[in-house]
């Protein structure tokens, strides 16, 4: 079709336009700005390539403006680029004598863009992907029927094949066989230890502050380390440097506000965002039942162009979550956690050398507290100090990144048996090379040297990524080795478990490790129809796996296991003028096996069921997500349906009252004993499937010259009773979110 159009256009030009154009030169001008701050970009490069191969170029001036005064009529391939930004490309038809304007907004490329897009233009694509990587733009988040008009990264992540949460409350995310503490979550480079809110729609990342988010479900490059499963790297945008702007939304789940603007016009800006939940106060009146969850997040960013070649930013974020994840009517499960992170970053872009230097320092903090009816109170705290320096050398189409990093962690936790403290220091460096072998083939080798002071000492972790483009198809593959020294210990059996005690791997033992293998194909089947398939295999070693004992009190014992996670992800994306849709299916398997023929135990007092191999509780075998966003005149209808097959759990044979060995014969008859759960083989049962439909309808009108958006929606529209917890001791079923109607209003200025 495209070829036909091109032939037709060329024919028209040749037949009708060429005689007129001959001798009549066109003019092309425009302005290049930062997409977020709207600040003009100086020295941006604009290249025009004609169909005959002739190329001409220009650069923007101090106001971001460029001009081509004598452009022959015809079709041109346009490329606008600037260091630190994602290049913009388009095809442009210029008529004879035409005075054409092209304004371009470039998105910051804080880190490298690793994907190659399919097709000649991105159109409305807000999501790009290659092996293991999904890049998400804020527009994609807005298409989800999130209750309230505060789109959030969390909702989107849960639509990706291979990504799921244990429940719609609790804030724990599993990605392709990895446990929550094996995911590295960064915001502007700052790690957040527990960034997902207690109600699963929300995280610390509202769409309002996001420039883009790179989600590596595996195969991430040497820039990232210290985690073995995945990376979620959120880059925030800078505040508006031209004018004051903001928004406010009011909804039962969440109320949000955003304010941004220039401190020094064109040079210095601020961005503030705050959200606070309302559901705990509104639910008793609106729903007639208690939803005792309270959460919120506050974000602030200061950004300044110090000179034309350097910039500085300071970022701060705080989150809080608390609630009672009641696992039955009689068993409370009080939980609370607070994140805080602060970062400073300096970027230097010399005009005479193709080197970008970036230095940053971050502080990250998490404190958490947990108390249940029949377990001792638990507390944990982790503080981390991170320092990074990065040198990026631009070598034509290729690029070399050299980085150095240092980390220091301090841990303190009390699991009910006394406070423990520990600390550890890590350091190292990495090399990432992006080598553009041909215009369609890119190879990206890398290596990370990481010193784990507690575990194996110096570790060399090679990484490799290949990308090949053939017409409308992109083939990519990624491979890498990963190790992790700090670990989050939690009890996997309990779906309500939000408590994670961060600590360092046992001294002188091998640290948890993984090797990733990923291959993907993505292609455009037809205009507006993209399809991708991706296979992955993760070889897991020295995994720390916590299990309960059979006693009622939740004593934890930790096993070291190996295992594998493997699967296939399929994505079908549809895009038309009135409809965008997404259909994703993930087939996955996670299997753990005990080391050296050892056996996993899952009880305490007497000989326990043992299994040399088992599927852990985050083995969700099938996952299907369908998204649709329809535009009907002034209305937009968003639908999202998710299906996930049941995850493993451990069945029981029953209960008995055990008496301690050595009890005198005379006491055998009278001793009441201690109640013990007789567990069957670990994780041989499967919980019921999970599925849910969310719907929302939006309409945006003008109010006082500004957009005012109204939304009505239903969470769990058909009232599916998805199981949250089965209480072994009382036999009680506790369900996830019921049908929840919601309305929301948002005003943007």
């Amino acid at each position: 079709m495209r070829t036909r159009i091109q032939v037709l256009v060329v024919a028209l030009l040749l037949v009708g336009g060429a005689p007129l154009a001959f001798g009549q030169q066109a003019t092309l001008s425009g302005q290049v700005r930062d997409a977020g701050s709207r600040v003009p970009l100086v020295q941006a490069s604009i290249v025009l390539q004609g169909e005959t191969g002739n190329t001409t170029g220009a650069a923007t001036d101090t106001t971001g403006v460029f001009t081509f005064r004598s452009v022959a009529a015809g079709r041109y391939y346009v490329r606008v680029s600037h260091i630190g930004y994602v290049p913009f490309t388009d095809t442009l038809d210029v008529g004879a004598g035409e005075s054409r304007r092209l304004d371009v907004a470039l998105r910051p490329e804080i880190y490298e863009v690793e994907e190659i897009t399919v097709g000649a233009d991105r159109g409305g694509d807000a999501v790009l992907s290659s092996a293991g990587l999904t890049r998400i733009d804020p527009e994609a988040l807005g298409r989800l029927p999130t209750p309230g008009l505060s789109p959030d990264l969390s909702s989107y992540l849960l639509t990706l094949p291979g990504v799921f949460a244990a429940a719609d409350r609790g804030g724990q995310l599993y990605i392709r066989g990895g446990t929550p503490s094996q995911n590295l979550v960064l915001i502007d480079g700052m790690p957040l230890y527990q960034p997902f809110h207690v109600v699963g729609f929300y995280s610390a990342f509202p769409a309002d502050i996001i420039a883009n988010a790179d989600v590596y479900a595996g195969g991430f490059g040497a820039r990232y380390g210290g985690r073995i499963s995945s990376v979620i790297d959120v880059s925030t945008r800078n505040g508006n440097k031209d004018r004051i702007a903001g928004s406010a939304s009011l909804a039962p789940f969440l109320t949000s506000m955003r304010l941004e603007g220039p401190l020094v016009p064109g040079k210095v800006s601020f961005l503030l965002s705050g959200r606070e939940s309302m559901i705990d106060r509104i639910a008793p009146f609106a729903l007639g039942e208690s939803m005792p969850f309270r959460f919120g997040d506050y974000f602030g960013k200061f950004h300044a162009f110090l000179t034309e070649t350097s910039s500085f930013s300071a970022t701060a974020i705080r989150t809080h979550d608390s609630g009672d994840l009641r696992t039955s009517s009689s068993r409370s499960h009080s939980t609370e956690w607070n994140n805080a992170a602060y970062g400073l970053r300096y970027t230097f872009l010399p005009t005479d050398e193709a080197v970008m230097t970036q230095a940053a320092v971050y502080l990250s903090h998490l404190d958490s507290h947990n108390e249940t009816t029949d377990a001792p109170e638990r507390q944990a705290l982790v503080d981390g100090v991170h320092a990074d320096i990065l040198f990026s050398y631009l070598l034509g189409a290729s690029r070399l990144d050299l980085g150095l990093f240092a980390r220091s962690y301090w841990f303190s936790y009390d699991l009910g048996y006394g406070r423990e403290e520990d600390d550890v220091v890590e350091g190292g460096g990495y090399i990432d090379l992006r080598f553009q072998v041909t215009p369609s083939f890119r190879i990206k080798p890398g290596i990370r040297i990481h010193d784990f002071s507690y575990g194996i000492g110096l570790s060399a972790e090679p990484r490799l990524r290949l990308t090949f483009r053939d017409g409308n198809s992109v083939y990519s593959a990624a491979w890498g080795q990963y190790r992790q020294q700090i670990m989050g210990l939690s009890s996997p059996r309990d779906p309500a478990e939000t408590f994670t005690a961060w600590s360092v791997a046992p001294r002188y033992q091998r640290v948890p490790a993984a090797t990733h293998y990923i291959a993907s194909w993505r292609g455009r089947l037809a205009p507006g129809v993209d399809f991708s398939v991706e296979g992955y295999y993760k070889d897991l070693q020295h995994q720390a796996f916590s299990s309960y004992t059979g006693e009622v009190e939740k004593a934890i014992q930790t096993e070291r296991l190996s295992g594998k996670a493997q699967g296939l992800d399929f994505r079908l994306e549809l895009s038309h003028s009135w409809f965008t849709g997404f259909l994703g299916y993930g087939l996955a398997s996670v299997k753990y096996r005990t080391k050296d023929g050892g056996q996993i135990t899952d009880g305490y007092r007497y000989e326990l069921p043992r299994a040399p191999e088992f599927y852990p509780p985050h083995d969700r075998r099938h996952q299907l997500t369908a998204l649709g966003s329809f535009t009907f005149g002034a209305f937009r209808l968003n639908l999202q349906w998710q299906l996930g097959t049941g995850t493993p759990f451990t069945r029981i044979y029953g209960f008995y009252n055990a008496i301690p060995r050595g009890t005198p014969v005379g006491a055998i008859e009278e001793d009441p004993g201690q109640m013990v759960v007789a567990y069957a083989q670990p994780y041989q049962g499967r919980l019921p499937a999970y599925h849910r439909l969310d719907v929302s309808v939006e309409r945006t009108i003008r109010f006082a010259g500004r957009p005012l958006t109204l939304q009505a929606g239903l969470v769990n529209a058909y009232g599916r009773r998805n199981l949250f917890n089965y209480d072994l001791y009382t036999g009680e079923h506790v369900y996830q979110l019921p049908l929840i109607p919601s309305v929301a209003i948002r005003f943007d200025v």
Binding site: R605, Y606, V665, I668, E670, V677, A678, A689, R720, H733
Partner: protein
């Protein structure tokens, strides 16, 4: 296309309405009973706790009373154990458990069958050396025994009977130290008190008001079966939970000689 839509609608309807939201936590089959007790050669009646696994966490023990049979595999004799009312205990009466014999306990009931096999250990072989040296102020009594395959626990006892005129006899039991070591022929020394005043002090009477007679000196051990070597948290109940141990008691009388009695200040036995 129409058929495709119909199929999608049918599948969606089945999914939305047919999925189970309840969970059944009970695994079929599996271990049947919890059993706890000790086969003791010193006891005329063996008391064993037997409890059927129940499906609820809290509440009284299961009312089920399975059949419990204790068999002496060595002799082929079996006996039915009797359920004790209102408790989860059973009592297995005579014949007395014999050291060195194999025993099998079978529990049969609604949940299936659980079984325990136990070998009661052999009695320790004890060799007593007479090394009493006349003219010394102390009495040393080396003992040796062979505990291969068994585990004596630390009990060594002497008995002294004290007669106090019209009062009944009083027995003083004195526990002497025992040091555990590796299996094999080992030795312990009994260190008796130097004179009679020690015993008078223990009773708290004036020496002139009492007559003290050294009646016997006994060496006693309890030997546990090899099943006690299993770590806590493991069971020896097949298709069940719990623990059934065995133990053998052994007592040896140490010969009393006249010079030993006189040296200690006791009256000679008439």
């Amino acid at each position: 296309m129409r058929w495709l839509l119909i199929h999608i609608a049918v599948v969606a309807t089945l999914v939305l309405t047919g999925c189970e939201t309840q969970v059944d936590p009970m695994a079929g089959g599996g271990p049947a009973y919890y059993v706890y007790g000790t086969l003791n050669t010193d006891s005329l009646v063996q008391t064993i706790r037997v409890e059927a696994l129940r499906e609820t966490a809290y509440g009284p023990p299961s009312p089920e009373r399975p059949e419990v049979i204790l068999s002496d595999v060595t002799t082929g004799e079996s006996q039915a154990c009797m359920s004790r009312p209102e408790t989860p205990a059973y009592q297995c009466p005579a014949p007395r458990v014999v050291a060195g014999h194999f025993y099998r306990m079978q529990i049969r009931g609604e949940r299936g069958e659980s079984r325990v096999d136990v070998q009661v250990p052999q009695v320790s072989q004890v060799i007593i050396k007479d090394v009493f040296t006349p003219g010394t102020s102390a009495v040393l009594q080396p003992l040796q025994w062979n505990d291969t395959g068994t585990r004596p626990i630390s009990v060594v006892v002497t008995y002294v009977t004290i007669r106090q005129g019209h009062l009944p006899d009083t027995t003083v039991v004195d526990y002497l130290p025992f040091v555990r070591g590796a299996s094999g022929l080992r030795e312990v020394t009994l260190d008796y008190p130097r004179d009679l005043n020690f015993y008078r002090g223990r009773v708290g009477l004036d020496p002139k008001d009492m007559t003290v007679i050294l009646k016997e000196i006994l060496f006693s051990t309890t030997t546990q079966g090899s099943e006690w070597e299993r770590p806590q948290g493991t069971t020896n109940v097949e298709n069940g939970y719990g623990f059934v141990g065995s133990q053998v008691g052994m007592t040896i009388q140490i010969p009393i000689r006249s010079e030993m009695v006189q040296r200690l200040g006791f009256q000679p036995v008439q």
